[in-house]
Structure formats: C-alpha cells, structure tokens
Amino acid sequence: MKTLRNCLALVALLAGVGSCQLEPTLYNSLDATTYPSNDQEFQTVIGNAYRGLILYYDREIYLPLNASTDEFTAPTRSGGAWFDNGRWQYFANHSWNSTAADLNETWDWLYSGIATCNNTLAILKASTAQVTGKESALAELRGLRAFFYFLLCDNFGNVPLKTEDSPTGNIQQSSRTEVFNFIEAELKAIVPQLKPTAHPQTYSKFTKEVAQTLLAKLYLNAQVYTGTARWQDCIAQCDAVIASNKYRLNASYFASFAFNNRSNGSFVENIFVIPYDKADYRLDAATGMAPNLFTMHPGLRDKYGLSSTPWNGFCAIADFYNSFDNADARKQGWIAGPQFDAAGNPIRFRNQPLVINADFTSITQATDNDGARMVKFSMQPGNTFQLQDNHFPIFRFADVLMMKGEAAFRLGDVGTALTELNKVRARSGTPNFTPATLTLDALLAERGHEFYFENWRRNDLIRFDRFGNGVWRFKLTRDKKRDLYPIPDRQLSINPYLKQNPGY
C-alpha cells in the first residue's frame, strides 16, 4: 500500500506539473484588452466604423429593399437563374412579409453599423490615449450613426434607439417621430464639431457639409416621417451646403460614377462617397461594388473587357427605361437593343446576334436577353478582380440642388424651383423645365432619371405617394402600408418591446 500511496503522490505531482497554463497564445488576432493604444491604432478603429457603409450597395443586403420600385428588378431567367426562392419577385410585386430574410439582413446590417459606432465611441471616450482631433472624430462617429438611423427611419420607421449609453437588455421601440427627432438633434449637435469639407483631405469622411446634406434629406422627408412638413428647414440646409462653396456639378453626368471617380476630380460634386476598393480583402468576391456582375449580360463580357462572366441579373423595368427622353444624356447609362463590339460587328450570343430586349413583360419567365442593363457605374476594363473600384456617391451636389428645388416648389416658389432644378437638368441635354412643364409628376420623373441606381427611388416614390399607392408593370395592387417595411419577425422574437408596423 505504501507503494500505491507513493504512486498516487507521483500522479498528483505530475498532474500538478501538467495542469499548466490552459491560457492559449493568440497568434492571428490582437488582444482586445490592449488595442487600440495610440493615435495610429485609433485611426484604424475609426476607419473601421466607415466600413459599415459597404453593404449600402450590396446585392445581398440593401439592394433587394430597393428592388421594390418601378425602376429595376431581377427577373427569373432561363434555368431558374435569379429565382432565388421568389426573393426578387416578392419585392417587385409588393408581396413581401415580415419573414423575408432580406429585411432582417438589412436590419442587422444597420444595427451592426450603429453598434460599431457606439462601441467605437465608447472606446474613444474611455481612452486616455492622445488621439488627434478627438472631438471631430467623436462627431464623425455620431454622424455615421445618424445616417444609419436615417436609413432605419426611412425603411422601418419605428425602431429602438441605441447609443453607447443604452442599458443592458432590450431597448424600447421609439416612434418614427422620435427617431426623426433623435437624428435631427444629433446632426445639429455635431455640425459645429465636424471638420468642414476640404478637398481632398476630407474625401469620403463625414464632414460638416455631409451632415447638412443629411439634415436636408431628413427635412425633405419630414412629412412622411413625422406628418409635419419642414420644407423651409430643408432649403436652409441646402443653402448652407451651397454657401460653403465647396461643391459644383461635374461637367459630365457620368464622372460621378466612373470606375476612376476617386481620381477624376468628381469629388467636387460627390459630397459623401463609399470608397469601394476592388481588392478589399475579407469581403467575399462578390460583396461590394459589382455592377459588372449583378446587372451585366454575359454576352457583353468581352465588349467591356471584364474578366469575370457577368451574372445577368438586374435590369430596368421597361416603362422606366422608356420614360427617358432619347435626347437625355443620362439614358446612355443603360444599354438596350442590338449589341456591337468595338469594331462595329454584331456581338453573337448563343449563336445569334445579341439583342438586349428592354421591353420585357414577365418577371417569372424572362429570357437571358431581357431588360436594359445599367452601365452608369462604368465597367472597369482589364480588371482581374470580381469587384470594381467605382466609389458610390450617397450624396451628390445635384441632389442638394434638386432637394432645394423640390422644397421651394412645394412651398410655391416656382421661380427658385426652376432655377435649381434646371441647373441639374441642363447637364442632361433635355429642355429646361418651364412653369408649364414643372409638375410634381415631372419632378418625380426627373429625380428618377437623375438618381437611378443610387438607392433613392423608393424614398422619392414614397414622398410623392407613388410607392404603396403606385401601380406599374409587375406591381398591380395598391397598399399604403408598404410605404414602411415590416419589422422583421426575427427581431420581434428577440425584443418583446417591438410592435409590428401597422398593417403587417
């Protein structure tokens, strides 16, 4: 027994020796307790907050919610391509319900962006490290957060307001008006703290003028959001941006969307851009700026020198495409009809000449050639990546002018409206608006022609009451409740405070 005891002691000893550190060494990530600790590291963290914008133009996340208009859709093509379990069809014909995965993905995306801002704010506030321009950095983060709340307000309306100071647990739902008020208050508070735009040092950053443009956009839609119009406030913010003298229209409409728009000087018009990078790592090959993939026709791959075969997806709804005046330069942002290569020879596809058929009639049984394709965001030739480099302009100076024009028009100031609207319209080569031709319908159409594929169509249609209450090809029913998206079921099950939007 003595031996046994000795042996037990030995095992206990070995166990004691072996019960060594179970703490693993971290090899391929940073220790969250020690990072960030200096100014340079903080810049990487603040830079990260801007990444939340990337999904603004993503085929999988936010584009589906914008494919519910009279502008574009993704019809189901041969072999069931783009059927995607009915996803594009229910957005196109306004039959979505609160279980639609895209709604929840958008919700998650926006709150994720907000959480990143909140967390970064918390880190920055708590840090004793010396951070260059800490006050304006904090303001930038609040501005970004306000933009995400603006999108929540626009799409879902009644949402919880979470900040870096929110308590543990579920957060009460705020009404759309309360959300509006929060955004307004935040933006007003940060305008004095934000850096004013300086070209090019503030490129892609949330500057004072970005905040003012966002305020203008908020006021423009105030009647939709709160029931109370704020046209004059909208004009005041537009005027502030105009008065900053930092912006003017580019000579060419297409300069703002070119694959080289970071370096072609278009920042004089593009107030706030998402700086997409074709080589951005960590994104899978098709998340980001990819009009070459999601709209382009495979038969045109070589014409545009694309290295990846396009996916043949989004295209214009025929009536929208046909609504362009042929003289309108902006119509060149679409391609339709017989296609020719650089040498003028017809392009052949499936052993036949390729003819893009703009006037298609079915979203359930479309052919591969159906629908005009968007080339406004120019195709990047000789690009060996799947993604492109076009920076996406969320706010353009053209929008500031048109917002001012619209607000003035709604206030009955037709003179100012014509002045501002025609500044933009002049560039397209179409005749100026006159007091006779300028109507709300014409203004809505003009906004469609100026801002197609810039994620404003739904917002505009709602403001003109032509969304839920509108009718167009593929959308034959009127249903005003659809001006708001439903709160995703998933969120209702997580947060018992949430009440579904009316009608859903």
């Binding site: 060494t25 090899y27 090019p200 503030t202 970071r262 075969t309 043949n312």
Partner: protein, 1143 residues
Amino acid sequence: MHKITQNQRQLYDCLFRIMKGSLLQLVLAICFTSVTVAFPQDNQALLTRRVTLRVEAQPLQTVLAQLGRQADVRFSYNARSIAVQSPVSLSAQDEPLGRVLSRLLAPLGVDFSAYSKQIVLKPRRTGVGVLPETPEPDAGVASARAEAPAVFTVSGTISAEGGEVLAGASVVLKGTQTGTTTGADGGYRLALPDGSGTLVVSYVGYVTREVAVNNQAVVNVVLTATNESLSEVVVVGYGTQRKADVTGATSTVTSKDFNVGVINNPLQAVQGRVAGLNITAPNSDPTNNRPIIRLRGIGSLSANAEPLIVIDGVLGAPLNAVAPEDIEKVDVLKDASAAAIYGARGANGVIIITTKRGKAGRTAVDYNAYVGFDSPQRLPRVLSPDAYFQKYNELNPSAPSSSTVRTDWFREITRTAVSMNHNVGISGGSEQFNYRGSVAYLTQPGIALNSGQDRINARLNLGQKAINNRLEIQVNLSANLYNKKFVDYGAFNRAALYSPLEPVYNPDGTFNAPNIAFNYQNPVAMLRQITNQGREKQLLGNVKVSFELVKGLTAGVNTSYSLFNGTYGYFQPKAYFNKNGQTNTSVSQGRRNTSEVTDRLVEYTLAYAKTSGRHHFGAVLGYTYQYLSDEYFGLTARDFPDNFSFNNLGAADQLLTKNDIYSGKSESKLDGLLARVNYAYHEKYLLTANFRRDGSSRFGANNRYGYFPSVSAGWRISGEEFLRNSAVVSELKLRVGYGVTGNQNGIGDYASRLLFGPSGNYASPTATANNPIQYKTAYFFSQNANPDLKWETSAMTNVGVDFGLFNNRLSGSLELYDKNTRNLLFTYSVTPGDKYGDNLTYITNSFLANIGTMNNRGVELTLDYVAVNATDFQWRTALNLAHNRNRVVRLSGEGLTFPTEGVRFGVIYGGTNGYGPYGVLKEGLPVGTFWMPKEVGLNDQGQPLYEVLDANGTALTPTNDPGRATRQNVGNPQPKLTVGWSNSLTYKNFDLTIFLRGAFGQKVFNASNLVYDNPTTFRAGDPNALNVYRTAFEGSNAALRQTGAVSSRYVENGSFVRLDNLNLGYTLPLKTPWLRSLRAYVAGQNLLLITPYRGLDPEVRSGNTTNTYGGVSNVGDNLAFGLDDFNFYPRARTVSVGLTAGF
C-alpha cells in the same frame, strides 16, 4: 527482408539506449533464428505463467503433467501424432511457461498453441519425434493421465454440427485429470472408474459440452462452433477488458469481418458492421475520402458531431495515419458509461483502432494485391443525344437543328478507373520482442477525368519486454503520403445540362465554348484545364512504456507526436475563360497554400489489478496533456503563360494584393485527469465507474474545467446456478449504465475570447487631389466574448443485454439508450450593441453559446448466428439493426432567443443565388427536417400550387407563389432504421461473403430533379437549350410551365438496400514449406442498389465533409441533411480481383 532488418537494428539501437540493458543480443537471436512456435496473441497470459522444473530423461507425457499442475493448465494432444513417451530433459527456474515449452517442444517438432485454459500440442509438418499421421482402423486410444483404475471404457466420435469430425478435441472426465484427445477421425476411447461420470468435451472454437456417460459404452458428441465474442478482449480506453466483463455498450469488428475491395479509408472497412454507427462516404471521389461518421444519431449541431478516434491509444489521431490493411480491429464505445473516460471528447462515442502487431513465433510475410475497376453506378438519365435532337426539332419546327454532332457528355468526362493496391507486411518476434512492418500502396484514379489519389502508408510497430517482463515498451511509427487531384463537381452538373449537339472540341482543337450563360461551361474543359492538386503527409509516432512496479501495479507513459502537412497547388489558365470567337480578357491564376497541424500528447497512467478469491478489482488513474496547433499559409498570383503552373508564383505579371496572401496560426491545450474503478464478484456481478476532469483552452474563462462521471453495472445471469445447465441459454448478461460525456469539437481555438482583428480596408486621405485616398487595414472587434463557453454535455442511459443461445450458436446483444445533450453549441444571432453578461456588449451579430437541448433515443439489435456448420459447408450470418429518434428539445434560454418558428438553412447552389433554404432547425423536430411549401397540384398555367394554412392549420386557397405558401414539415432526412446484414459462407476451399446494407424511412431532397426534371429547363428557340431528364416531358412533369422551386415535389423516399460488398475467394490447397496460404478472390462493392428513389443515389451526406482529414467545416453546413445536390460526383461500382499470400 534485409531492409526490415536494418530498421530493426536502428530501432534497437534506440531501445538499447533507453533501457541501458543488454537485451539486444537475446532479442536479435530470437528474431533471426526463426523460432517456430506460434502464440495466439490473446492467450499469451497462459504462457507467461511461471514454472520451475528440473527433470532428466522423463517421458514427455510426465513432464507435461507436472508443468500442467504447476501452471494450472491442461495439455491437449493426440497421442498418436505426438511421441509423448519420448524421454526429455528440462531445467527451468521461474521461467514463463511459453519459453519453457519452446525449449522443450521445438526439438521434437511440436508446435503448441494456447487457448482459454488449455494448451494444444500439434505436430509440425516435418520433424523428429512426430508419429506418422496415418489413421488406424480402430478408434485412437490415448490415455493421457489415467489416475484411477479403469473399470469402464467409453468411446465415441466427436464431431461438429454438420458432421465434420474434430480431430484433437479434448474429452475429460469432469472433476478429474482423466482425459484424452480424439484421433484424426474424431474418435476417442477413454477408460473410466465407472459409468456414472460426466464427460467434458471441448475443442477450440467450439462450445464446450458436458455429457453424462450414463453407463453407455458409446457416447458421440456434436459440438457447436462459437463465435468467440465473449472471450474477445475489448479495448475500453486506457486498458482492455474481456468482453464478458464489459458493462458498457461496445462493439468490436476484427479484420476478418472487414469489408473487402478498394478500401479508400479505414472506416470504410467497417461501414455497416456496427449497429448504430453510420458511416457515409459522400461519393466516390478518391480525394474526398473522409466519411461522415455518426454514432447513435446526431449529437450536436456543430460540424464535429463525430466520434473521437483513438489509434493505438493516441487520442484524436488522424484517420489518415493508418492504412486499412494495418488494422487489427476496431472497437466502438457507444454509450456514455464506456466513453466517459474520454471526458470532454467522448460525447459522440469513441472509435478505437488497434493496429496489427507482430506475434511471437515464426516470421510471417503477408502480401496482398488487387486490381479494382471503378465505373459510375448510375448517371443522370438525361435525354440521349438523339432524343435531344428529336426534342429540339419538335420544339423548334421553324428552325430545326441540322447538327450532326452527338456528344454523350457523361461518357466524355468519366472513365473506368483502374486502381491498384499492393500491401506487404512482415511480422514476427518472440515472447520478449515483436515487430511488424508494413507498406501499403494504393493508386486510385477517380471515375471523373483528371481526378484521383494515390497513397503510401508505411508503418512499423515494435514491442519489447524486459526486466522479467515487468517493463514493456511499444513503439509505433507511421508515415503516410497522399497525392490528390481534386476536381470541380460542377462538371457533372454541366454534363447533364450541356447540349449533346455541341462538340467537345472546336475544329482548331481548342475546347468548344459557346458564348452563353456563365454557368454553361464545357465539362471536359472544366476537368481538363484546371490543375488542383494536394500532397498531404501524415506522420505519427507513438511510444508507450509500462512498468510493473509491484505485482498488479503498473505505471505507464504514453506519448505521441502527430504531424500533418498539406501542400496544395491550383492553376487556372487564361484559356479556361475562352469563349468561341471572343477575345479573352481574363488572366491565368496560380495559388499555393500549405497547412500544418501538430498534435502532441503525453499521458501518465497507473493501473492496478488484483484478484483475491472471487473478487476481482481493477483501477486506473491517469493524467493527460495534449497540445495542438494549426498553421497555414497561402498566396495567389495572376497572369502567367497558360502552360505555366503554380510552381513559380513570382513569375506572375500581377503580384499580390491584400486579397492574395494569408497566413495564420492557432493553438489549443487540453488537460485531463482520469480514473476508473472496476470490480467483479465471481465473474457474475460487475461494476465499473469512470471519472474524468477535462480542462481545455477553448473553454471560456468561467468554465475551464468539466467533470465527467459514469457508472455501469452488469449481471451475468448465465453465471447463476439456475442457468448454469440450461440447454438453451449459454450466455446472458444484463448491463445498465449511466454517464456524462462532453463534446468540445464545436468550439474553435479562440472561440470564447473577445478578439480584435483586421476588418478590411478603410480609406485614409492622402491630400493628393488626383488620388485622394489610400487604403489601409482597419481593425476592430472581430468576435464576441463568451467567458461562459463550454463543452456540450451528454447524459446517456444505456440498458443492454448480451446473450448466447444454443451453446452460443446464436448470440447477440440488444441495447436501449436515451441520450440527452444539454448545453448544445450553436451560433446565435444577436443584435450588436446589446449588452449581455457581466457588462459585455455584442459587437458582431453572431454569438457562440451553450443553450439548447437535444435528445436521441434508440434501440440496437445485433445478432450472430451459425446457420450451417457441416463438413464442407458453413454459413454464418450476422445482422445488425438500429433505430434512432432525434429531436431538438429546446434552443432558447439564458437571454438568447431562438425563433419559435425555427431557423431555415441550407442553400442549394445553382442559378445565381441558389434555391435554398430547404431545412429547418426548430424545437420539437429532428435536426434537418425538410421545411418547405407543400405542393398540392398544378394550376391551368402549369404553375405548381402550394398549400396555405392559417394559424389553426386550416387549408386556405392554395397559392402559386412559394414565398406565400405555408412552409411546413415535409419529411425527416434521418432514417428510421439502419440495417447491416452479412453472410459468410464457405464450401470446401471456397468462401463467399455477402454484405447488404440498408436504411429505411428517410427522405431525400432531389435537387437534380429541381433543375433537370422540368420541361421549362429545355427552352424552345434556344440553340443551346439545356438538356433535361428523359422524364421531364412525362407524367406530372409534362404540364409544368414554371421553373423549379424548393417544394415537397422534390422530397422523395430515400430508403434503400445496397449490396455493399460481395467477396468470393478460393484458397489454394497448397502444402509447401515456404507458402503458408494463398487465396485468390473477386470482390464487388456497391453492386446493386434497390431503392424507390428516382435520383442517382439516396445515400447522401448528412452534414458537411472536407477534402482533408484534418479539416474543420462550418456549423451551418452540418445541418444540411439529406440533400442530393446537382453538383455531384457519382458513386462508383467497383469490381476488384485480388490475391493474398502468406509466407
């Protein structure tokens, strides 16, 4: 032979240094002099009993009797073939019986072998001292140890069932030393004191019978073969137990029952052989050889719901470290009471692989070679080229095709693949030293062009005993090399769809590539143009030392080092993107990446065993420490000449962006304390208790250590008086066990920690107007912290009955189990920004947590029956049946809510975005339940109509919009019953094994039909109309005018019976001194599939698999059950011809 000798020598140098002893000469002497004694390994214990005897010129018979008394063994021999009266001399001082017998018998040309309580002596074929084997006219008479005066003589014949006489059977008067053995004709004659006794008749491999003499002069006895299962030794983890003493639920498959043919991975050899163990090879791609392994249902929602693999005591050893041919047996620990000794890794059961070792006795050389022929068992039945042509012209009467091309695309991309295998094993040894070295080489091309694998497995197992056998050292080394050629399974999908009127090649010799939709690629070009290769190396070294400190108390150390290294290369030429008549603006791309996994293990154990009277007591105490690390590196470069490869990435014209380069490393540590106590009283009442405490670096800081206890008890009812003499029941044991085990596989190395990582690029202003920004790497939190993260906990109750009836002619076991898995790991969606736990904030939207509960309960029945046992014909049949019911009980809790409507998952890739999801994870339903609209018919536009139910389940007007239809349970992909049925027949020198395997009651989602079985896929007016199934225009499909959508239309009964293995062999009746045996065989695998399923094969993957053994797959894919995807690699039918020879 010479090479092996070199190896031995090197190894011995090594051992020598370790032991600092002078064993070398002794061992080499034994090894080289080819001692011709054969020790059946399982009975070595008998031969280690120590004897002391000194005799001069005594008859052998007498010497044997003395040795027998000392060692408490009985000797059986035929006095007519062994000269038992020959005088022998012997001097032995406390030596093992085996060694003494070798010395005593070898000169006489007598071999001996030990069985349970007797040692059988047999003459060698030639040699001195052996009597001629000519049968004598009358029954042989041998009075071995007649101790009492004989007044009654009994005689008779001992035969096996079916009439085969048993020569050398032992006949003993019960309770005495009086006995004899039968002659060559099975006859015996024995002189007894009177006619009232009882004869005990025994023969190796047969059930011992007791027959009362009852004053009869002739007593003929028929013996029944046993299946020996109860005397088998079962490896139970940190030790072994006799099957009879085991109280947990275990199964053993020995190599003689392995599946035969082209065996690509070790577990394929036992596929279907163990009730409750489901092994599913995803397809017949030789590179994708990691089967899905599930024991007793699905015990986890994470990808690694697989049993723990233990090879020769190395926990978590990679399966590719062993060749199927080197496996001696596979033990499966099914229930928690057996697996609890493996603690946090035992929850999904344990598969213990024991490799072959050398046996004391003559040097044996085993050679096995085969050639196998693989061909696709089934291919999609699309329109034949002529039928396509006809259909095309029927649908396009105005512009008929005049193409004269007829391409059978499946024929173009498949081939009859000829595999070849050579396997040589050399083994031998003495009582102190044993060795076995082997090399296996298999080259296995795939049935798809340009795919395949070859492998070399080399293994050397050495064993040495020293210091009066108190020190035992085992060294196991294996080196394995795998060369793989991967292919894109999309090629089979394209082959189905591609127009058969298109040629493979253009007239200029380039691949024909019509310029159409992006997913329309020439399948031959897909397979031919891409180079995608891997070379994987697996080394495993394992040293085990045990030392008997005092009698019964043994200390052991087990160490191992495993190194996996994979190097992969990929090259995609620019020509891959060629389109007929178009300029190709793409560039070629080359990639190289490597992966290295190391695993180090050290274990200290202390084992104690003591038998005192009827009490048997055993205990094991141990400590284990394991360290794993995983490193990888890779980079991609673009734009090379097309005939280049991935071997000089620096030559590229486009080098390296952040996208193109990556590397990483992670590690984990495990720390375990284990204990086992077992107690048996009178071999009737059995009790086992296990305990383990496991710590893991993967667990959260609040839960570093888990405790895993188990207890089980057994009652051998057949040992009780009232059953001892039963004619029906020969063995009956009741077992009850309960235990708690864990599963930590679903936790990644740093999964519990708050991580800060690169999050992509951010734009940093540059103040340069023509390039206003530069991209820099942004950093942010990349993972939510979960300091509570821990193992999944399974509590399993198991009740089992082992039985043997009719002298064990029918044996088997019945198991009932109920397994509740708590703390299920699942990645929950959380809302970033919300606070949780101890003032933590969700930063990302996913959170790995232990919340849910899942239940598996089932029944398993195993039967083994010797149906016929005649002289020339034997038939043994074994059947195993298993039923398991899986149910997700609960998924919400602790502040995390799982939607009550469930979460749908599973994407069928195709089109642009895929067709999914098709499954659901929902409380109350089995994992993987198909959840989709239910089709109720077609409307007059040919659109499917789907059921719409209101909240009460009342059917409303059906809809043609799958988005509005009510998603509902349309079937369970998990089988209700799985069956394995094997039949082994021998007729004279022929042997035949027929093995059938089946599964019943499961549903399969036929994704191929979704695309190919729809007439709209074949589009009129399209010169490259996609091909479809022959049935697309028939029956209920004919009216279809809508593209396929996920619905019950494609859910089919997946029940099947497969003729999995058929093996016909002929053993040559050879008698040469140098050739022990020679057998030729023909084996067939997957010869016949009987199923109502309309797709290719209903046996589809359940859960994800990866190309490499070491790979880890993601959680979501694990829930993707029952999908027959349309990107596939067909299953092969294999016929092989082989030869095994023993020298």
